[in-house]
């Protein structure tokens, strides 16, 4: 085990990684906001990041060392139905009804998710900063 001078830095970095992945999923959802399909199975479905907490089983009597932060457990699919739009000129449109299926993505929801991810990222960064301050205090203790 390497030395752990900055308390909680590994835990916070798992959180930073998870929030980055969430941001990527949001970006992917927003990028596909117009990926139309001909029916419910063909159309792009909104993806959701699902987090899970990590606990290490270390052979160590220090209780704080079992804390392992967070990980992206899975990328779940939002199973809500898409929106039908009348667009007979579209190559994927239904020949009889002239309807195409738009994905179940709401830009407002994605913006909300984006802001949440950004704020969580900032909060974890400030934890890292505080940990760094503690480490600085430790090494300048004898001055």
């Amino acid at each position: 085990m390497s030395i752990d001078l900055i308390p909680g830095s590994k835990i916070s970095s798992t959180a930073l990684r998870a929030e980055r992945m969430r941001m990527e999923i949001v970006a992917n959802n927003l990028a596909n906001v117009n990926s139309a399909g001909s029916n419910e199975d063909d159309v792009f479905k909104r993806k959701i990041a699902v987090f899970d907490s990590v606990f290490k089983d270390e052979v160590n009597d220090n209780p704080a060392s079992e804390l392992g932060g967070v990980k992206l457990k899975e990328i779940a699919t939002d199973e809500r139905g898409g929106v039908e739009v009348y667009a007979p000129y579209h190559p994927k449109a239904n020949k009889e009804t002239g309807m195409i299926m738009m994905p179940n993505i709401s830009p407002i929801e994605e913006m909300l998710d984006m802001i949440t991810a950004t704020r969580a990222y900032e909060a974890n960064l400030s934890i890292m900063q505080e940990g760094k301050k503690m480490a600085e205090k430790t090494i300048t203790m004898f001055k």
Partner: protein
């Protein structure tokens, strides 16, 4: 009186133990923050005050050396719809408090050292 006991006496042991526990607490807060959006996560808390008071009261310094505190689940606060009960501002507040406490301990230690230094000179 040994020279050892000049620096490594009871107060120093308690001081360094508190610093160690404060670092562990920082880890716990970091873990709570990391899991602020994890469904079903119950916030953890490092519980050491009561036990430490008891150990210091008994004056058993060897037991204090091995003391690490206990990690307990804190489900006192109201949980969100997904079963998560982490409140970010509360964690930030805890973190700040812990940081100031750590600074205080470091300051106390360096003040002790400078007192001993001035006595030696």
């Amino acid at each position: 009186m040994h020279l050892e006991s000049l620096v490594f006496d009871e107060t120093s042991v308690i001081n360094s133990k508190l610093m160690e526990l404060s670092q562990a607490k920082q880890k716990t807060i970091a873990n709570n923050m990391a899991n602020a959006d994890t469904p079903g996560y119950i916030r953890r808390e490092l519980d050491f005050q009561k036990q430490m008071k008891q150990i210091i009261g008994e004056g058993d310094m060897n037991r204090l050396q091995d003391f690490k505190g206990n990690l307990v689940k804190d489900d006192s606060g109201p949980a969100k719809l997904d079963g998560n009960n982490v409140v970010l501002p509360q964690e930030m507040n805890n973190m700040m408090e812990n940081g100031v406490f750590y600074n205080l301990l470091a300051k106390a230690f360096s003040t002790r050292m400078s007192i001993i230094k001035s006595a030696i000179r």
